[in-house]
Symmetry: D3
Subunit: 253 residues, 6 copies
């Protein structure tokens, strides 16, 4: 059985997410396709941008279900569109923030979200509160580098991640680390190695690989989100969203 | 000093909110204007509809600040656009759900949200969690009448509200009641009277009047939301929202 | 409609609160009168003093209702007499601590209480617990100046408030500030300005003006505290309080 | 070593508490004396009465320390004067509500407070919140009999206690019971027997005996309350309380 | 890549878990082997039995790591030996209770644990508290059938599970269900079907399949538990456990 | 009435606990006997050691009840065997960690556990969560000295305890201190004196004396743990524990 999971990018920056980033994650049992919203911001660093990323992302998620995809993962740690899309579809819709926080809570006594900007602290604390994990969140710490600059000097980004993680271990009592931005995809191994060198053997959770595998786990187990929590929305016209909700001219992948 | 507060309706049903509904709330110190999104759903009964109501509502809130309005209130108990709009403007942006829950927590040991549909329980419990009031929320109870049908038999709606409120007092230990839908505007007096007749002297909070007055209170006190919680979003292009974000041809009121 | 709110001072220091302190808060819609207990401590800096301030304060609150006042505010951040007085009267009884904490929770992700003495931390944490807001209280920080010395060098007091507020923003992650002593009345503008100069644009809540306006808001909305939470006390003799409960020879104002 | 504990009754009903009620609790190691406030209500069934019971009770507690008593217990489940008196004295001041709730939390997964009147629910939930035990309090249930009528038909009172306790076991999942009124002194054995007959082998905590023994436990261990939580109050005049604070003409016992 | 996960049964009832029960869960990527403690109780229905199941289970987990297994799952919803074993080994040790509760919290607003005996409520509430999920646990409900009798009339067991689940949906507001006994392995599909027939489309989580897949997910992601939370125990003699800790004569499978 | 309490040591280090350590605690009303497990670790500094200490400790507790002892105290701050043993016996089983934390919560606004090793933080936070006291636990701080080295330089150990306690008062806001290792028996007076010299008048709780007295308090009050929380375990064979469960050849004392 091969599970088809689609990673849906909620931002409009061309080339932010490429097929080759994910190739190593594909297995006999997991096939990954990509899609992205055509509308909304170039990156998500605020509630304003989260809000405007959501309608187009919902459209891509509905489209994925229509195309027979088995599950979707939203490619942003704000988990945009998660609540709305789960109402619209029956296939699992995975937020990497939700998944990564739950994994971290399973693997450590407490965890810290290592994110890009200090301003995102309320977002992560609010998500943790809604996900029922506020008591496990030791801290939200930022490297203070904007999303689209993370890769400009990847070694510096990783060094900064290690330094901030160590600070959180020492000062906040963190026992696990979750990356608070999907733009950090691929940095977990380096950060884990850096922490091991400093004597800290803790899980460093890269949310996108975890979320893709969680999507497959749910599909294999015949599980999806509760329709008591996310019942289908009532059928009504939606003014002004014809373009945003329109299917993409050529199917994603 | 007269405070100008704008009530911004996040749904597209024409005539849902009329100037005359609010006339009685205006005083020497409080002037109320109206505006409504042109885009989004006809009513909000799901997370999906909340999500699609938000971009147009943010646009109307930005417009209100630009026009010199002193504060805005969003006309829906899902508090749509609250997080995003507070980043975009400096004037107070009031969510009636947040205001009503805080007032209820001040006036009673616990409170119940009396809303239209059972499916909204997660929404209110999540909002209460984010607003820091989960411990005061005794229950979310529903009359199970859709938003746009509430006024078709107003006496029946009010009788149902009284019955469900009494049930929540007896079974959930509720000591105050918050209406969980702004479509119930104007029913508080009848519900309070009905409960008094049954021996329950408790506050029945009508969110829109409370929120409008709270907006004035904040303006008079020189208060607005924290820019550490809601810093201005970074300046970036926003693809696909030119129409939704465009100013209304003629100014609201 | 003009709302008559009485500010009731629970301490016996003559001249602590003067009519002219509040003149600027009066509007066409808000008339403010004053009253003070004749019994109890000269200032409140301990649970012992809170306890002895309460009987005389309850007497003044009952008297206010009898005189036709629309609502009362207790002039102390320990919210003395709040629980007892709400049982005795039907008009709204407002605790500035309760009101200010709820406003702060509405306007910021978290808030800090900036008070006079470190010893008051348990008091504020206990009040926050009872008011349902413990999760929003980032910290209680003190300037360590006794209540009656706050005005002896007002510039020094304000500078200290700014410094401690900044410390709490940086170390506790505070996003809003509540003054934890009504003796700081009038300092909010200076403290807010000082914080803005350091780059922090956050609400600084002066509890007495906020509480007076909240009293008016409730009266205008026909709201008061729940009689399920605060039912009238049983009628019984009260030994030894004839003098303390006696009406003032001349009505307050 | 014999520990001298004084039980201080905060109400003015003559004969409410008699030496013979407590004789059976005295041992070689525990000597019990009695004292009572001369001022305040005849019984405590409201926050108003709690408030007016406190000044006279504080006076009796200060007096007890001055007379060389080793520890005091306040004879009411509202724990009146606890916060204030702990500031005024160094000897242990025990609230039976605090002690009984902590014992119940040690002996059962959850506990219910069985009290006299429904109106006391907020009081017990607030005390539990302050004492840090809100999560262990399954429910507050009332027999709805006023304090001074509890003994008029003691068999009926006990039968009602058993019935309400069983209801709380079944409906609230209670695993232990605390009497929520010190007027129920002496009923624990009968209630425990009644529950055993119905198949429930759970602790039934009689607060006054437990609190007297807890006082002795603390004295024997050289323990008292923290002076960081309850520092001595500042020395200041206290207007209007000369009579209430005056020593009793003849020493208590 | 094929991940080798060992399911370790902490009870001594021969034939409780057979290879064929799990055959359907094996895939190209997941190989499952079995092992069981030789010491301890025949089934786990109490804290006493949990305690005595643990030493032998720890021995089997250490053995599994020594044999090159990639991860282990403990086959009991009390998650016996989880804390101790995570200290002893570096490979992931999965508790099905922890995994199933986290999955349920991801897939529903709240969840109920459907277990065998009412007496297990404290166990599940305590585990939820430690795992950080107490706020998501709507209830613990029991079918009141002992573990080893569950399969004697499987249709009756399943019917009872559906009935109790429905009761919890209606009365506790549950939005997802977790089986609270690994003896219910294989019943999820029937229970989910039964609930769908009654109109409830919610996830029904079968803990063992979920835990086995979670083990694979962690191994594929290079993740394991934090060594800050579970550091290796100090090296010391362990008196009296030579037999219990001895390797099995022939390797498990 | 003399209460016979047995202190049961869950470790196998000969001479760790001697009769003369406890002589000063015996009174006319309290007789203390000793017993120790013959199986398990030499000291408890990990979850692994806790787990292996438990079966032998349960055996000693069952034996104590059989011998007519009135109550037992387990001599370790991990409270090993507490859950299991309470199911097996009817006499009170006291965990010193549970008792000391509840006493600390009664005597201070918050408390800190001062323990031997940093690695024990999750253990104490988990116990506090289960005991319902997580909100009162300010911090877990360690002196970083192994259990069996604590007495090698007792003055150094005490000085370190004072220093770490002061740090926790200043940085964590601790208002009381609980020793987090029963190996610190007898140090409370010196630590309290050291803190008083630095100006901190707070309770320093020595868990074993407190627990022994708590055991007597419960016996005198006819109280024990709830059989709804800890019902007797089902009767079943227990494979492989014949030696560990066997009675000691000569009765303990």
């Amino acid at each position: 059985m091969s599970v088809h999971v689609r990673l849906i990018t909620p931002i409009t920056t061309a080339g932010f997410r490429r097929k080759e980033d994910l190739a190593a994650l594909e297995t006999a049992g997991l096939r990954i396709s990509l899609s992205a919203t055509r509308t909304g911001p170039g990156s998500i660093e605020s509630a304003y941008e989260t809000t405007f990323s959501e309608p187009g992302t919902v459209a891509r998620i509905i489209e994925a279900e229509r195309e027979g995809v088995d599950a979707v993962v939203v490619d942003c740690m704000a988990d945009p569109a998660l609540q709305a899309a789960r109402e619209c579809v029956s296939i699992p819709v995975i937020g990497p923030s939700q998944t990564a926080m739950h994994l971290a809570a399973m693997l450590g006594h407490t965890f810290t979200v290592l994110t890009v900007l200090t301003r995102l602290r309320p977002q992560f604390e609010n998500l943790a509160a809604i996900y029922g994990l506020r008591g496990k969140l030791a801290a939200v710490r930022a490297v203070d580098i904007p999303v689209l600059d993370l890769e400009s000097d990847i070694a510096a980004t990783q060094a900064r991640l290690v330094a901030v993680a160590e600070k959180s271990i020492v000062e906040d009592g963190a026992h696990a680390v979750v990356f608070g931005c999907t733009g950090l995809l691929g940095c977990a191994e380096a950060v884990r190695k850096g922490l091991l060198e400093r004597g800290y053997d803790i899980p460093v959770i890269d949310p996108i690989p975890s979320a893709l595998r969680m999507a497959a786990l749910l599909v294999e187990g015949g599980l999806s989100h509760s329709k008591l929590t996310w019942p289908a929305p009532p059928a009504k016209p939606m003014a002004g969203y014809a373009d945003i909700l329109a299917p993409l001219p050529t199917a994603a992948e």
